[in-house]
Amino acid sequence: MGLSGFEVSIERPTNGGGLSTEDMTLSMGPQHPSTHGVLRFVVRADGEVMKEAIPDIGYLHRSIEKIAEKVGWHGFIPYTDRVDYVAAMFCNHAWAAAAEKLGGIAVPKRGEYCRVIADEFCRIMSHLISVGSMAMDIGAFTPFNHAIREREYINDLIEELCGARLTFHYMRIGGVAWDLPPGWIEKATAFLDRFEPLIDEFDDLISFNKIFTERLVNVAVITPEEAIDYNLVGPNLRGSGVKYDVRKDEPYSIYPEVEFDVPVGRGELGTVGDCFDRYIVRMREMRESCRILRQCLRQIPDGPVIAKVPRNFKPPAGDVYYRVESARGDQGWYVVSDGTAFPYRCRIRTGSFTAISMIQKVSRNLMIADLIAVIASFDLVAPEIDR
């Protein structure tokens, strides 16, 4: 049914004329307020929709791998903290364990328990930052502050344990540097009693908030095959549905003696492998860490915490590839020894490095606001990427 006399025809030049549009090239970083560190993304965008976001890394490259060759086996331990300063215990652990494997040193049981306790507290710390920053990037500033408040309590605990709040330098080749102080186990248990209900509170506050889930669900879906192809590890991999955790599948230290589950993304609010899955896997991993911690704090035996290792530590020539399940996934440390007191080569393959290599592919046809969500859901930290 048409109204006569009201037909309008619009002349549009059809051969090459008309409005032409160009893509905008934006540079996101290296300074920007996201807490993920000095990263730069060159974004080619058509308005709000990105054609591509190309990561440009190297702004935090500190040649840690070369420094290993210069400072010796023991002297490298403080440098390992800086490989991933958000979750530094894992790097300490990996280096010490790799050196022990090369040198054939057995760590006493109590030392292993102290290591795992420190590791799991560090995992909670790192995940708090991760979920807090993710909420902050999506615009909710409150959960970030609450997460940091809880992290402050863990900082106090760890400070009592090893004297540092961020770069711990706690583990040594052969065990750990200091034993648990008197009363520390009670304080740690009291903290866990306080913290576990607060994870539920965090969930109530933000995890299933409609606006939050709308930002994350079905964004940047990564299939398990793609995740394995791009060598995603840790919560990124488990968020895509692949049930692999170094602590369970290739256990090291005393992990065979503790019981815990490995949370996997199930696509409960969207598709398996979207940003929400990666986020909720981290929330659940915090609960599992609390479980592991309670068991360790109960089961910890008495004894020495460090084996006798000579100051002039010279492991026999050889190489080892040691993996730890860090907060960001499986960190692989390939350490080559040539029989001297200085490591020949230390190569660290971190979860964030492989995750950021996937951004270029994942970012096609996302919006710029989604890029922030993806970066946060991958839990990238610049020190791990650049070393």
Partner: protein, 167 residues
Amino acid sequence: MGLDAAAIHSALRARFGAAIGDLVGAGTNASAMVPPDQIHAVCAFAKSDPALAFDCCSNLSGVDYPKQSAIQVVYHLFSYQHRHHFVLKVNAVRDDPVAESVSDLWSTADWLEREVFDLLGVRFTGHPDLRRILMPEDWPGHPLRKDFVEPEEYHGIPTSRESLLKA
């Protein structure tokens, strides 16, 4: 449920014969040498063969061995299907290190090989975008080499300063 290192080694030997070196090491560190111009074929077989099914290149490192005048590229392979490991090592000639790229087999090798190129200078043939990744684009030299000497300055910025301890 996966194969052990000896079984993987014999499967590779069965396919490629003497090109695969002897099995060195044990357990998760068991490795074998592969010539640099066959690494792509070996990796392709390792990935596609259903019994091996190495669907993940877990790590790709480069190690500089000036005494053997080689730069060794180490491939740590892992199979999520069968949960087994293997390590392949390639000795590239140190004067002009070249190896075949495996970035078409595992997408993660793209950036990992770029890093080996950047820091050690190994050129990977068939790589889609081989350029520096950590160092600036115009940095001279490859820093992780054992004989690397730091340049005096970079674009006018000096790379060392006077020791504050001297009188």
